[in-house]
């Protein structure tokens, strides 16, 4: 169990679940949650490669960066969703197509 492959499998499953959530969910917040899953699957990859590739914590450091970026992204995205809700009275992203010609 203590090998790279296991971590990569877990990461791939997590990525697929996140992607599934992003593509299928109509609720904007749910889509955002999918995105978080994708990001964390990437984090697992970083850390796993760092742990098994002998790369002196640079993977871990990168994972930290991703977490910070994800927090920022979540803040921005939630702000957008709140604005969408304020304007359209819904968080269903299918209804947010104002820019469509």
């Amino acid at each position: 169990m203590d090998n790279l492959q296991t971590y990569l499998y877990i990461s791939a499953i997590l990525f697929s679940l996140g992607l599934y959530g992003v593509i299928t969910r109509r609720n904007g917040i749910a889509v955002l949650m999918g995105v978080e899953l994708i990001l964390n699957s990437a984090n697992i990859n970083f850390v796993a490669f760092a742990r098994f590739g002998g790369m002196n914590f640079s993977g871990q450091v990168f994972a930290l960066f991703v977490i910070i970026m994800a927090a920022a992204e979540a803040a921005v995205a939630l702000a957008i969703i709140i604005n969408v809700f304020n304007n359209l009275d819904t968080v269903n992203i299918d209804d947010a197509r104002e820019l469509k010609l």
Partner: protein, 683 residues
Amino acid sequence: MTGDMLINYALGILFFPLISFIILIFVGKRLPRQGDVVGIGTIILTLILSLAMFGSMLLSHDPGFRHEASFTWIDLGDFEIRLGFLIDNITIIMLLVVSLISTMTHIFSTKYMEGDIRYSRYYAYLGLFTFSMNGIVLANNLVSLYIFWELVGVSSYLLIGHWFEKDSAADASKKAFLTNRVGDIGFFIGLMLVFTALGTFNYAEVFEGVAKGAISGTLLTFAGIGLFMGAVGKSSQFPLHIWLPDAMEGPTPVSALMHAATMVAAGVYLSVRLFPLFTPEALLFIAYTGGFTAIFAATIAITQNDIKKVLAYSTISQLGYMILAVGTGAYVAGFFHLVTHAMFKACLFYGSGSVIHAMHHALHNLKDHDTDPQDMRNMGGFKSKMPITYWTMLVATLAISGVPLFSGFLSKDAILAGTLSFASHHPQHFLLPVFGFSAALITAFYMFRLIFMTFHNQPKLPNVYSDIHESPKPMVFPLILLSSLSVFIFYTLPYFNPLSDHGWFMELIKAKDSMVPGSPSAHDIAEGMHHSHTLTMILSILVASLGILLSWAVYIKNSVSADNWSKRLDLYYNLSLNKYYFDENYNKYLYQPFLRLANRVSYIDWDLYDKYFINGFGHITKWLSSVTGRIDYDGLDQTIVDGLGRSMGKAGSSLKEIQTGRLQNYMLFALFGVIIIIIFQSF
């Protein structure tokens, strides 16, 4: 006088008349007396300068005197044209002749042209003419000679056509100009032949080139004859003599100045100047042209009744003499005759002007506008009414007839001696002296016919006669001056021998050798003339007195009836009276065919060439452009250019269907893309 001074004087002589022309043509009408004082003032200034030059020439007494000054006119590297002045004794004498006669004309015209509607313009043109004539005289090269030559032609055209309201005057001016152009084309060809061969226009350099043989043989002969053609036109030689009699349509003082004394003498002057480059063949051509013209024009003058026409033909005949002299090598004699002829012929023209003026006034007072004031048949007996005119004209007539004691005798004698000596060296050309002597005989006859018909006998029209008066002083003064200058003494000083032309003139003008290798030297020619001098003198006195006697017998004594003789020689009389039908034949065989040809050519050009060829091109181009237009617009634009745009538009609108606006669709597409990339990667 130094050379630079002379050049300054020459510049003054050349440009004063031009200044007068410019002033008069622009503001002449607004000046007091319509500006004739400007014209007369400048011409007198010119005369004074000419006299000063003449005086300095007499004082220095140097036959070889020669001064030249020039400047670059056109400089194109290898090709350079220099214009300039050549001042030698011939130039100085010619300048004096031109300014003297021109001054006389200006003075004479104050009365003759009084009240004319274009009085100031008349004086302006006189200034233009004097300017151009002096230009011819002063030129040291063929180019400026040619330029002034044409300017003289223009001023002649303007002055002949002074009374252009009359159709005959307008036609005469056109005829004079066009006939001159014919000769000038020959002149131009000669000019270009010389330039092509020698690369220069300057007289001295041209003669040098001829002496070196850079141009020789037939080419030089043709060049010489070409240049001489200019003289044929301007000096009214056969067969281009037709314009001069018609030129008498101009005012009489103009006839005296241009068509007797100076402009027509320009041709002779040209031949004299260019004498060194004429080959013996060219000279022979010149001699025959001149000799034939002399006798030919004289035979026409006999039967003319218009007083000016007689003088016109007499002028042609005398110019023929001068040309004949050049042709026989005695060109100094020709130039001498030019000078003496200028004096007495101008005097004769002023005399005729005086008579016409008197007739005109008398007819005007009688309100008679049908009688021709120039017809000698309407005159007669004017001797007592116009004594000054009579006596001055008589002196001039004696001079032109070649009577001893008068200038014409000296110069005519020299020419005839030249022809005799030429014929003694070349017996096959015996016709030349025959031409000369018979022309002298006829000249004496018709000139006295003019005098007798005008001034002697009973008046033909008594009521006109009673109203005839002597002309006013400004018209009489030139007559007196010029008739005095027809006396031998002015040409033979410091000697007093009326039978020999030995004097300042012959001492100052020395014949130059011809530059053409193989020509007889000037010394040989002079020697030959000297030998035949006595014989010539006897013969010429004989023919002159015979001519005068005949005239006296016919017109005073009436012992020989002119009418009977004219009937007896009906055919000849009619030929002469109608000028050998030259105008008619030129019209029939030259102008009309030419006009027809011109019509044909214009038909071909306009109706055929233009219509079918040029316009056809237009039609073809129009058709072609409509076709290419259609190809371009309907074909290219519509299918390729617009088609490309349209297909882009279609592609765009079909592609825009992908853009659904649904976020998850885009994600799906991105996923598919990644999957496709992964699939391709794994292969």
